[in-house]
């Protein structure tokens, strides 16, 4: 399994990318929100040398949950906007940043699933 630091880097850079993408597309507040969530990964680096279990995993886990929630939110908005087809208005157009976020969301969900299975169960201890 990849080390916690590498996973943190991956998530941090990916979420920073998506966040800035939103900002450049003019969706300022939403971009800031993603950046806030990416800070979760950044602060994961501050957890250093704790006993028995690295709290970094916690940061990856929760950060992934937050990203997954956000992309779920975009997905839900998109699905609901399909209703517009009935009344003949246009549906929400997915921008590049939306697609990126959803991809990241899928990866985060995989992260969550994997961590729940391997790292955050009471029986088992360390991963890394």
């Amino acid at each position: 399994m990849k080390s916690a630091a590498i996973q943190l880097w991956i998530m941090l850079i990916a979420s920073l990318l998506v966040g800035t993408c939103y900002i450049f597309q003019g969706d300022l507040i939403f971009g800031i929100i993603i950046l806030v969530f990416s800070m979760v990964f950044l602060l994961g680096f501050r957890e250093f040398g704790k006993p028995s279990y690295s709290y970094r995993i916690a940061h990856i886990y929760v950060g992934s949950i937050l990203i997954a929630i956000t992309s779920g939110y975009i997905l839900a908005s998109f699905l609901f906007s399909l209703v517009n087809l009935i009344i003949g208005e246009e549906i929400m157009d997915l921008k590049i940043s939306d697609i990126l976020l959803m991809l990241l969301g899928v990866y985060s969900s995989y992260n969550i699933y994997r961590l729940r299975k391997n790292a955050i169960r009471p029986e088992k201890k360390d991963i890394e």
């Binding site: 507040i29 929100i33 806030v36 969530f37 800070m39 979760v40 602060l43 028995s52 279990y53 709290y55 995993i57 916690a58 940061h59 886990y61 929760v62 950060g63 949950i65 937050l66 929630i69 956000t70 939110y73 839900a76 908005s77 609901f80 906007s81 399909l82 209703v83 517009n84 009935i86 009344i87 208005e89 729940r116 955050i120 009471p122 029986e123 088992k124 201890k125 360390d126």
Partner: protein, 634 residues
């Protein structure tokens, strides 16, 4: 034969969940302590017996301090049920068993239920039922309100206990305390449970002091080392509990659990509060965005229907304008309201809500409130009545009243249709932003009001906060759906009753005396007559009338507007007036239901009156400021 069964236990152990399972009810369940604040009753029959269950607020000890705890204590003391179920959390049984030992002193017919056994199993905690039974001398049932495990067994045990009452062994507190208890028993009337009250008296309970015989002076009889004795009693109970658990419970040490992981980040020193605000933004944006297409769909549907019926005769006009247009304009916003409750439901079910209280507590210092009241106020985003009620969980009376008085400024779901309508007209290109700004304003106004009320109406010092932070639970879709339906249903009921009636009344006021010209209607007369008050804010008569009708319930503003203009699409409002109007609506008057709740919760007419006067004046001032500033800028 009716058997009454009382459910007591620590807060958040699942009493209401059990109650729902037992009687098939859908009472309010959420993952934070202090959800239930009144007694709730429900009946079911089992094997030809009628079981009458009473769900009660949670408490840690029968020495009650807050209002909701007193409900439970008074119930047990003055109308003891045939069978008392003490619900204990399997994941942290110590505190529950302490309450059990205390309850046994009341000489009731007790069953101990270890709930959430599913979670205990997952964490490899095991209980040895028979040794628990032999040490505690009461029937034990292991249940899970989620999986339904042990529910039938519980029913059986209730019947068995009722038929063959158990009189459990009482704890012996040692000669020093027992002699005091024996001595104090003479000070109480025979109608009370003397041992229980004497013991409470030794513990220094204020309530027991009030029940002393009239001629007894508390200060003259109470021992000087009372707090020592109180601690001795509590220690004796906890030692007993720990002894029992040492023999009857086995658990394995665990490393980091997902709960700790989540909690570590959600209550993080630096990132915790930003995450909270980000999530709030997402929740409100979700309310707005996810529901928008559905809202549009329903609107179009009602529009078609109105056109189909037309409004040529008095009858078709009543149907199409009064009922379909009036009520429909409100109903079309139902998806938004359900979306909000969906988001709130996740927050309440997951256990995040009390963490917010923890994070925000420091910020509430300056308002002389606690994080707990912040959490209570958050509930007001659903409905102000629920935050007024939930304030019962606050220990301090001053804090409780302040929280109740500022509750109406939290922008409840009934205001969503109004904002969405106005925003749709005046800010078509910045709807999401405008919507969020209204919520920020609502929070700011609530904080400001708390400050003002603390300065003027109630003065006081900062107050203690002892709050349990429950473990996180993954919100199951069915739980959140139930929550959403429970809360949203209320809105549908309103649409069918009060909003329907109000819409018809508004229609009558518009249709008469002159159906051809609305400018001559009664509604116009009312609005024009009072328009002078709102002239500085730039409101038209339609707005004024709508505001007056809307004082009953905010949704009626939408319904009235729709009728005055013959449909939401025809309304015209310039951005400045619209802003002033929204700011005014944000706080102008609590709805009838909230006022009634304020009156019953504070038990006086003074506070509802203060609330009306204060909110009218503050919103007038703010709206005036907005319209002046707006005119300068635009």
């Amino acid at each position: 034969m009716v058997i009454t069964v009382g459910l007591i236990g620590n807060p958040n152990v699942g009493k209401t969940s059990l109650f729902n399972k037992l009687v098939g009810a859908r009472q309010y369940v959420a993952n934070w302590p202090g959800v239930t604040v009144t007694r709730v009753e429900g009946a079911t029959s089992y094997k030809e017996q009628t079981l009458h269950f009473i769900d009660l607020p949670g408490l840690y000890t029968l020495s009650a301090t807050s209002l909701d705890e007193k409900v439970t204590r008074d119930f047990l003391l003055y109308s003891p049920p045939n069978v008392t179920i003490v619900v204990i959390d399997s994941m942290s049984p110590e505190q529950g068993m302490y309450l059990l030992l205390e309850t046994l002193e009341l000489n009731l017919n007790v069953i101990a239920v270890f709930n959430a056994i599913d979670e205990a199993k997952k964490n490899s905690i095991k209980f040895d039922k028979s040794s628990l039974e032999s040490y505690l001398r009461v029937p034990i049932v292991l249940t899970s309100a989620h999986t339904g495990e042990g529910i039938t067994e519980l029913m059986e045990t209730i019947l068995a206990t009722f038929r063959k009452p158990n009189r459990p062994k009482l704890l012996d507190y040692g000669p020093e305390i027992e002699s005091k208890v024996a001595e104090f028993e003479q000070y109480f009337e025979d109608k009370y449970n003397k041992r229980f009250l004497s013991l409470k008296l030794v513990e220094g309970d204020k309530f027991a002091m009030e029940l002393l015989k009239k001629d007894v002076e508390p200060t003259s009889v109470l021992p000087s080392n009372m707090s020592d004795l109180a601690i001795k009693i509590a220690k004796r109970r906890y030692e007993y509990v720990m002894n029992v658990l040492n023999r009857a419970m086995s658990k394995s040490e665990s490393a980091i659990t997902s709960m700790e992981a989540i909690d570590h980040v959600f209550t993080h020193k630096y990132i915790g509060i930003p995450i909270f605000f980000a999530l709030m933004y997402l929740a409100f944006n979700f309310t707005f965005k996810a529901s928008e297409p559905l809202v549009g769909l329903i609107e179009v549907g009602f529009q078609k229907l109105t056109d189909l019926i037309g409004s040529n005769s008095i009858f078709t006009s009543l149907i199409s304008q009064g009922i379909i247009n009036g009520v429909g304009s409100v109903i079309s916003f139902i998806p938004s309201i359900f979306a909000l409750f969906f988001a709130l439901g996740i927050m309440e079910e997951s256990g995040y809500l009390p963490r917010i209280a923890f994070l925000m507590d420091r910020a509430m210092y300056s308002l002389k409130l606690t994080g707990r009241s912040f959490m209570t106020l958050l509930l007001g985003f659903g409905c102000n009545v629920s935050s007024v009620m939930a304030a019962r969980g606050l220990t301090d009376e001053r804090e409780r009243v302040t929280t109740i008085l500022v509750s109406p400024f939290v922008s409840c779901s009934a205001r969503i249709p109004v904002y969405l309508m106005i925003i749709g007209i005046a800010f078509p290109n910045h709807r999401a932003e405008a919507f969020f700004v209204m919520y920020l304003l609502s929070i700011a106004l609530t904080a400001l009001s708390a400050r003002i009320i603390n300065k003027i109406v109630m003065k006081g010092e900062s107050i203690p906060l002892v709050m349990e932070l429950p473990r996180y639970r993954f919100p199951s879709l069915s739980n959140v759906a139930t929550y959403m339906w429970n809360r949203g249903k209320h809105f549908l009921q309103k649409a069918g009753t009060i909003i329907l009636v109000a819409s018809v009344i508004v229609w009558v006021l518009i249709y008469f005396p002159d159906p051809t010209n609305i400018e001559n209607s009664f509604a116009a007369m009312i609005g024009k007559g009072l328009q002078f008050i709102f002239a500085p804010l730039g409101f038209q008569w339609q707005t004024v009338s709508a505001l007056i009708f809307g004082s009953v319930a905010k949704e009626i503003i939408v319904s009235s507007f729709a009728q005055f203009y013959g449909g939401v699409g025809n309304i015209v409002l310039d951005p400045v007036t619209a802003s002033a109007l929204m700011v005014f609506i944000l706080g102008y008057i609590p709805c009838f239901a909230t006022l009634a709740a304020i009156k019953s919760e504070t038990n006086s007419l003074k506070y509802p009156i203060i609330s009306v006067v204060y909110s009218l004046s503050i919103s007038y001032i703010l709206a005036f400021l907005v319209s002046i500033i707006g005119r300068v800028i635009v």
